[in-house]
């Protein structure tokens, strides 16, 4: 964006009046959206910061007391907090990694395909558009002991029997949750990757082929480096999205079998236990984790979003 001025050679010819008027108009046009966005995020966040200093329970409001940073120390020294954070990271890493692979395969197929593009686009957009709760139900029922087909279909595997209770222990339950998450969001990933793939120049690929590069060499030397920006943006968006996972867990396990995520923990404190003080402290911590995560990904992979959008 910094160089947007340069993209507009006319600017120099304008008088200062004109640009001042333009700036005023811009402020007017931008203001409603900015105010609205701040109203619903910044203000509540400040309130959360304030509330997090209290022991405050909605159903016993008379006992509200100032506790300073107690809620934070309690949360940060509690194994549940770290356990849930670990779950969240596991879900995020596994689902993004798997989606990246499957999504890339999808993108390759979609890129090459000549027939049935419409059918393919339609079917790939259905998981994208479907309500997450519905996806969670579909997968929960599929894995369900009494009403699911998964046990029957996979009973040839040595560790699966008709009596396998997927939601009866930690890892199988996590598997079901991650499966639902992956199914629902792979299309998004594959579409972003497809857009990146279509920007890889065919000439370079052909040149590589003429030079005798194998398929894998072309993939690693030509395709992937040229798609770097697209991949990083896809990873960033999906990772932050997966980090907020809530719907699937709410529907499938309600946090049983230690499958709780950080979002779910925060939700439970606030909405189920009416602990507005502790809940607010967790909200602040959750917000900070997302910030750190976003910052980390951007720095680590040197994603330049502006550049990725072609704004430079």
């Amino acid at each position: 964006m910094t160089t947007a001025t340069a993209a507009r050679p006319v600017t120099a010819r304008r008088t200062t009046d004109r640009s001042a008027a333009e700036s005023r108009l811009a402020t007017k046009l931008v203001a409603p959206a900015v105010i609205l966005m701040l109203l619903v995020t910044a203000y509540p966040m400040l309130q959360a910061l304030y509330l997090s200093l209290f022991r405050y329970r909605l159903t016993t409001p008379g006992e509200r007391e100032f506790v300073g940073l107690n809620n934070y120390t309690t949360a940060l020294t509690d194994s549940l907090f770290w356990n849930d954070l670990f779950n969240t990271v596991v879900i995020m890493v596994v689902s993004v990694a798997v989606e990246l692979v499957i999504g890339f395969a999808f993108a390759m197929v979609m890129h090459k395909i000549i027939f049935g593009r419409g059918v393919m686009r339609t079917s790939i957009l259905i998981p994208y558009g479907i309500i997450t709760v519905v996806s969670a139900f579909a997968w929960q029922f599929a894995f369900s002991l009494n009403n699911g087909f998964v046990n029957g279909w996979l009973s040839w595997l040595p560790w699966i029997s008709p009596d396998t209770n997927w939601f009866g222990s930690h890892w199988p339950a996590m598997f079901a949750i991650i499966a639902s998450e992956i199914w629902k969001t792979t299309p998004f990933m594959s579409l972003l990757l497809l857009a990146g793939l279509s920007q890889v120049s065919e000439d370079m690929l052909e040149a590589a082929q003429v030079d005798g590069a194998t398929w894998f060499q072309r993939l690693y030397k030509v395709i992937l480096p040229n798609m770097r920006a697209a991949i990083m943006v896809a990873v960033l968006f999906r990772a932050l999205d997966a980090f907020r996972i809530f719907d699937n867990i709410f529907v499938m396990t309600k946090g049983a079998q230690k499958t709780e995520s950080s979002s779910f923990l925060t939700y439970r404190q606030v909405i189920e236990q009416f602990q507005l003080g502790m809940g607010s402290a967790l909200s602040v911590l959750l917000f900070l984790s997302v910030l750190i995560l976003a910052f980390g990904i951007v720095k680590l992979f040197r994603v330049d979003l502006a550049q990725a959008r072609g704004e430079s």
């Binding site: 159903t59 049983a256 009416f274």
Partner: protein
């Protein structure tokens, strides 16, 4: 192409339509005859029928259904009450949350005259569950209890005598030796705490003492009785009598297990008696019943107490009318009608006299229900039940993880939670 003024008109019309939609969404009905909103737990039509019957020329009672599980019912109600929402008039409240609501001032007081009447008509356990700080705060409507259900064919095959009291240990052994299951409720939800409470009480213990002290209540789950309870759960979870879905089992899945070919024993509420009439008549004919199993041989079993008390919201705009409605709803006859339609038994002996019930249930089963209610163990009446119950769940679930350390771990954890030193 539309002219500029036409477009303006369109824009204005669109904005008006939007505002109208918003207003319609916010506005309530304000007709002369008030509607009393009664928030009910889901059932098979009993409370709807009573609502119709108790509607008068003065007011209409409309029912609003709450979610299935008790914890969610509490959340839905408490959030609205915390928002001082006047659109709740009457509520069906599950016993463990009565104290919390009363303590927070969400319940309109019950007049002494009516309270006296309720005290004389209701079962003792129902009154105990409906009382907070010495005052009756909700009107007992139905009182439920669990009994031991068994498959007659299985018992005949296994050769166990069900006429005498049986222990959990016996049941688990008999079931696993003969290829049967013992169905219970052990999902991560209130129903599991109901079971744990019954087991601990059956061994002569309790989860909490001096519950009225709130945060400073004495946690007593770490006791020999708590260990006896843990032993039963550990034994079942480690035996072949364990249902495949033990860790996610609820009242509903338990009845599925019980109705399957491996069905043998089950503890469950009174509705089970007519549960299979339509889906599986062969099972319906095969059901036998007995007193809830003993935790410790020779010690009186303490079956769970469940039920519903009717409360009037203190934020209602029609407290007088709602109180009248509450009197009508909780009358023994209406308790009978509700029981007839739902299998949720009356909170009073007079309710049991409702003639159709005698046709629907054999006399010895009705007697068993009432006897169970007399010895039933209510969950502790404390405004912190929600915390205590969740803390128990997070240490006792899943059932396969329960061992002799569990009672002590849960006691420590509950104390930390109540003091705000641990996350729940």
């Amino acid at each position: 192409m539309a002219t500029r003024s036409q477009r303006k008109q369109l824009a204005v019309a669109a904005i008006l339509a939007l505002m109208a939609a918003l207003l319609a969404a916010c506005g309530g009905s304000s007709s002369a005859k008030p509607t009393l909103n009664w928030y009910i737990n889901p059932d098979t039509g009993g409370q709807d029928a009573v609502a119709k019957k108790c509607s008068t020329d003065q007011y209409t009672i409309a029912t609003q259904v709450l979610p299935t599980d008790a914890t969610q019912q509490r959340i839905q109600l408490a959030r609205r009450l915390a928002a001082s929402d006047s659109s709740i008039d009457l509520m069906s409240i599950d016993p463990p949350y009565t104290a919390e609501f009363a303590n927070a001032g969400y319940l309109a007081p019950i007049a002494d005259r009516f309270a006296a009447k309720l005290k004389s008509q209701s079962f003792k356990s129902a009154i105990a569950a409906a009382t907070w700080k010495g005052k009756l705060v909700v009107a007992p409507f139905w009182s439920n209890t669990q009994v031991l259900w068994y498959r007659k064919s299985f018992v005949d095959k296994a050769g166990i005598d069900m006429s005498k009291p049986v222990t959990w240990d016996q049941l688990i052994k008999v079931a696993s030796q003969n290829g049967g299951t013992v169905a219970v409720q052990a999902n991560r939800y209130e129903g599991y705490v109901v079971w744990i409470n019954a087991l601990v009480s059956g061994a002569g213990g309790s989860l909490v003492q001096d519950a009225a002290k709130g945060v400073d209540a004495k946690i007593t789950i770490n006791s020999p009785a708590g260990e006896d309870a843990a032993k039963v759960i550990e034994e079942l979870a480690g035996s072949s009598a364990k249902p495949a879905d033990l860790s996610v089992s609820t009242e509903g899945t338990a009845s599925t297990t019980f109705g399957s070919s491996k069905g043998a024993f089950m503890v469950n509420w009174t509705f089970i008696w007519h549960n299979y009439d339509e889906t599986d008549p062969a099972v319906a004919k095969d059901i036998g019943y007995a007193m809830y199993p003993e935790t410790v041989a020779g010690e009186q079993a303490r079956p769970p107490y469940g039920g519903i008390g009717i409360g009037v919201s203190s934020f209602s705009n029609h407290i007088d009318l709602a109180t009248k409605a509450m009197e009508c709803i909780t009358s023994p006859d209406n308790q009978g009608i509700n029981a007839e339609l739902t299998g949720n038994m009356p909170a009073s002996a007079a309710g049991y006299d409702y003639p159709p019930l005698k046709k629907l249930y054999p006399p010895d089963l009705l007697a068993l229900f009432q006897k169970s209610l007399q010895v039933a163990a209510p969950r502790s009446v404390t405004p912190y039940w929600g915390d205590i119950s969740s803390a128990i769940l997070s240490t006792w679930h899943s059932p396969t993880s329960v061992n002799d350390q569990t009672p002590q771990e849960s006691a420590t954890f509950i104390e930390q939670v109540l003091k705000g030193d641990a996350l729940l």
